[in-house]
């Protein structure tokens, strides 16, 4: 079963910025862009990560240091063994004319999507946003590709300002297709709104605390619809977003409790 643990040696580590690296792993599983795997550091923990690429010779994940697990993972070196399970969930559709919109580490799954769109010969454009250049994975690659426009809040790369600035132009510049988004939830909700108004479809990749990835623990169920983000997501279309009442609220933590106040945890 694909959900059984397999451990694999890390093939290669690519450092993008301090605290932001990609890891190439043996291609032991098939996946679609937007799907995720879990990575196990034996003796530490196991956490979900979207795939940022799937080539014949390797799987790729891209990790940003935000806490104890990711910090340890970023210490890993080629040859170190990590556990891998997946792929889990549902990904993006491959649609010509798609506009990819990423926020920070959210650009990682979009990189895989862009690979697949290229392989399928489908045109797309990509608005890659981040708070600052150091939060942007694959910056060099993104800088080179003419279909990509970079936005940073502080102007340290590309255009200064939120990624949504470029969105109106992008949505107006072609026939209605799909907005594929990944990043912080407020950005995703803004994309949803913009797409709705422009008559575009939206496919947006959300995150919630996850423990099992297989739809059992209940950790990632969305209030309102009960939809399991690990099985029916993480990429949701408009229909799947219907009925959800917790957009923008703080996420349920590992106990299942939702922190009563404050901004969303990510």
């Amino acid at each position: 079963m694909a959900d059984t643990m397999q451990t694999v040696p890390i093939l290669e580590v690519i450092a993008h910025h301090a605290g932001l690296k990609s890891f190439l792993l043996p291609p032991v599983l098939e996946a679609e862009p937007g799907q995720f795997v879990t990575v196990w550091l034996p003796g530490v923990d196991e956490k979900p990560f979207a795939l940022s690429g799937r080539r014949p010779h390797a799987l790729e994940i891209t990790v940003k240091a935000v806490g104890p697990f990711t910090r340890r993972l970023l210490e890993a070196r080629p040859g170190d063994r990590v556990g891998l399970r997946g792929p889990f969930g549902r990904g993006f559709s491959l649609t010509g004319g798609a506009v990819l919109v990423g926020g920070g580490i959210g650009n990682a799954p979009l990189r895989f999507l862009a690979q697949r769109l290229d392989e399928a010969g489908l045109p797309f454009s990509w608005l890659a946003g981040a708070r600052q250049a150091a939060d942007l994975p694959f910056e060099a690659y993104l800088q080179r590709d003419p279909r990509v426009r970079i936005f940073t809040d502080d102007g340290s790369a590309g255009t200064a300002g939120p990624v949504t600035v470029g969105l109106a132009t992008a949505l107006a510049s072609g026939p209605a297709a799909v907005v594929c988004g990944a990043g912080p939830e407020p950005m995703l909700l803004a994309l949803r709104e913009a797409a709705r108004r422009a008559g575009w479809r939206a496919e947006l990749s959300f995150e919630r605390y996850m423990k099992c990835g297989i739809g059992l623990c209940g950790q990632c169920c969305l209030d309102g619809s009960g939809l399991r983000l690990c099985v029916e997501g993480p990429v949701l279309d408009e229909a799947a977003m219907q009925g959800v009442t917790e957009w923008g609220l703080p996420h349920r933590g590992p106990s299942g409790r939702r922190p009563s106040a404050g901004p969303p945890s990510r």
Binding site: T4, G215, G218, R257
Partner: protein, 330 residues
């Protein structure tokens, strides 16, 4: 037909002999005074953290849903991997992660405000007094259709670190303590195979006033080791075994309890196909819990099993599941 080949009772419902015009069959069952439109119950710990999740399972065809087991305090549970599928079932060591009773009460209230499907609230505690307190505190705030008492949690006072479920006397005492605080709400005790005699434990619970029994909790625990990194894969090293692998153990557990007690049984364990649910009913289950089956069969397993059971009733000319319950005892 020779009397050795089949009894009349068996004949009455053999799929291939319809006698009389088929009555429209009903899957409804009475469980400790509660009517369930279907015998299928969502097992505790699976999709049971929030009202919306429970509602979704109810909409999928469950006759009742059970919450994740909650204790007096919020618990984050064990690190991951906490749930580990393998080819024949899965191991889980979630570590009783739960938001705490007060939070859960709010979820229960939200569920009940929107859904008529009976809800079973599951509680656990560290000791007898804790069980009573948990029951009291929860039932001050909400009125579930049934209260399920998960006694498969470690009993710190036990000689071998065994769960309460291993000790018939402890189970009886917990049952009595919870009943005293139950405000008339029926109480089911959730048993584990990890005991010298399930029949003995079941009788102790019944004698102490239990209104129903749920059997079985996950089995073992078990362990799986990664042969490359040479470590147990679960963060907790060991975890309870559930899913297809344990069906024969659940069938036998229900069988034994059906002979030992008169209160109804929520037969749980290893149901991954519609036929499995019928096995548990024939062994004596009034209701049938489904947990891991949701992983292997999807939420569709509820509707598929309801359809299968209805079809069996229709073909056998049986009006309800009453004729099938315990029928394998001959």
């Amino acid at each position: 037909m020779s009397p050795h080949l089949s009894t009349d009772r068996h004949r009455a419902a053999a799929g291939d002999r319809v006698t009389g015009p088929p009555t429209p069959p009903s899957l409804a069952v009475r469980l400790a005074g509660v009517t369930l439109a279907s015998p299928l119950v969502l097992a505790s710990g699976v999709m049971g953290l929030s009202a919306s999740s429970l509602e979704r399972v109810a909409a999928a065809g469950a006759g009742a849903v059970t919450t994740k087991s909650c204790g007096l305090e919020e618990r984050q549970g064990h690190p991951c991997p906490a749930i580990l599928p393998f080819a024949h079932g899965l191991l889980n060591a979630v570590g009783l992660a739960n938001p705490g009773l007060d939070e859960m009460a709010a979820e229960i209230a939200a569920f009940q405000a929107r859904t008529p499907v009976p809800l079973i609230a599951s509680i656990f505690a560290k000791n007898e007094a804790g069980f009573a307190e948990a029951a009291g505190r929860l039932l001050e705030r909400v009125t579930p259709a049934l209260l399920e008492v998960n006694v498969s949690c470690p009993n710190v006072a036990s000689e071998f670190g065994q769960p309460f479920a291993a000790d018939a006397d402890a189970c009886g005492r917990i049952t009595a303590a919870v009943k005293a605080r139950a405000r008339g709400i029926p109480v089911a005790v959730k048993l584990s195979l990890q005991c010298p005699s399930l029949a003995h434990v079941g009788r102790a619970c019944q004698d102490a006033g239990a209104d129903a029994l749920t059997a079985i909790n996950s089995v073992g625990p078990g362990m799986l080791i990664d042969i490359d990194v040479r470590r147990p894969i679960l963060a907790n090293q060991v975890g309870g075994l559930s899913g297809a692998a344990i069906l024969p153990l659940a069938v036998r557990a229900v069988w034994d309890l059906f002979q030992a007690v008169t209160i109804p049984i929520i037969g749980t364990g290893g149901v991954t196909r519609p036929e499995d649910a019928l096995q548990l009913i024939l062994a004596g289950a009034t209701a049938v819990g489904i947990g891991t089956g949701i992983y292997t069969g999807g939420l569709e397993l509820f509707a598929a099993t309801n359809a299968f059971l209805a079809d069996r009733l229709a073909h056998g000319g049986l009006p309800s599941l009453d004729a099938l319950r315990g029928a394998a005892h001959g």
